[in-house]
Symmetry: C2
Subunit: 275 residues, 2 copies
């Protein structure tokens, strides 16, 4: 047993998606596309007598992390530090679950493969209702396009071959669970249309265009985000809404140019990684 | 059209493999496992009037790179700088092809997806007889396990969730083409057995054990490599042979401990990436 293992998992902003529920959590998930970020969640796992979860220095209950520890039969202490806001559309729950899976596997010598660990974290995130596609995107890195939903073996991923500076501003929390467990027909129709645009032209510009169109058609825009997108457009920038969070994100210097004071990061070239 | 784009592609050491020829180069490939490396190939593409390839400052003919440029209808200038030895089992040809595909796509605004670019580079490497699985491994990063052969959409990848310091020493060149176009029955039988070991236990130790066993059973060991593996084992280290090259690699400080003066790098957490 190793004393301590740390993993970094990139944050993930979804630009658009369609929900694909399934009784089997390894088949459930979403289609869509998003940006993985150099800002994310660092997870450190140490052996313990019973499971303990600490988020940014405070004891926390993160259901998908608890599920991962149960699945791996590991009563570990999990310390997560996040550089992205919580409950704001960055996939913190999925990142914490995936980082916990990767680090716990080494600490407790569980000898599982990368795909097996991603599957466990994805299933835990789906079952908790905290995410539908963040984990597989965060495992892949870059700018993933989720062509088929579910865990590895079921899903099919592609990507937009590009890198970008990313700016974001969060205006507060939105509950993912409320939206992805509600009526998702209109949302999923808009998500499928957005996906077909990006598959036809897998570029950053078409991703931003498809994301804005999705946010409008799925009627998910909050007032703050709507105004920020308009402000960025007014200075010829590209912005859209992080799904699902009360968060606006922009490429390049879009938000700075529009007079906001955004957090600044970049797309993350790699998926989740051990330190 | 952009003026200049640079991509980095990790080197890839295959520990063991089985060959899977197919008339369709997107289906042809190999099963096996290997290490992607922080040492690799940096490829810079600029627009030109006719294709030009420069490798480490000298004009060079790299068939898979030529094929990629033809496929993308791009008469580009390609400058490749490699930090791994050429013709020694590091997948330089595949790395050059993949880096060319990623960078040329942006320079010439070809709007292809990541998987499409990987498919083009994989097919070019297979057709030239210079590699069977390097490109898909280099596109993935980490410590990829190639469960099913071929380009994205056909293949299935998993990974060993670990990181390691890697040391290597090259004793000269071996021709991949001579071996992978010859009789590969014995080699492929040994490769399948090695893969089943690593699937059962996806850890670094089992990867090194399976790789050594494969090198012995496929009767590919050169005298220099055989001696180096024995020297590393004598100091309780783990070493094996890079397939296919006259190169020995070790985890941690195996070769240093045995008195060699190796090149030192690490496993690369990401796949090929734009700079």
């Amino acid at each position: 047993m190793r004393e301590e293992v740390t993993a970094f998992v990139p944050g993930h902003i979804t630009g658009f998606f369609s929900a694909h529920p399934d009784d089997d959590p390894t088949k459930a998930g979403s289609r869509g596309a998003g940006l993985t970020l150099t800002d994310g969640v660092e997870v450190t796992v140490t052996p313990a007598d019973e499971p303990q979860i600490v988020l940014d220095g405070e004891p926390a209950a993160i259901e998908p992390v608890e599920t991962v520890l149960e699945t791996l039969e590991a009563p570990a202490r999990v310390e997560a530090e996040t550089s992205v806001p919580i409950g704001a559309g960055f996939g913190v729950s999925g990142a914490a679950a995936l980082g916990t899976a990767l680090a716990t596997n080494l600490v407790y010598d569980r000898k599982l493969s990368y795909n097996e660990l991603v599957t466990i974290a994805h299933g835990a995130d789906v079952q908790a209702g905290t995410g539908l596609g963040d984990v597989v995107a965060q495992a892949s890195g870059g700018i993933p396009i989720r062509l088929e939903p579910g865990a590895p073996g079921h899903n099919l991923l592609d990507g937009i071959p590009a890198r970008a500076r990313v700016e974001y501003v969060s205006f507060g929390q939105l509950s993912t669970a409320d939206i992805i467990t509600g009526d998702t027909d209109q949302l999923s129709a808009a998500g499928k249309e957005a996906l077909s645009l990006v598959v036809k032209e897998p570029t950053l510009l078409s991703f931003m265009y498809a994301s804005r169109r999705f946010a409008r058609e799925a009627e998910l825009l909050t007032a703050d985000v709507k105004k920020a997108i308009q402000d960025v457009a007014a200075v010829d920038g590209q912005a859209s809404m992080a799904m699902l969070g009360n968060t606006v994100f922009a490429l390049g210097t879009g938000l700075s140019d529009a007079g906001y004071e955004p957090s600044i990061c970049a797309t993350h070239p790699a998926g989740a990684m051990l330190k």
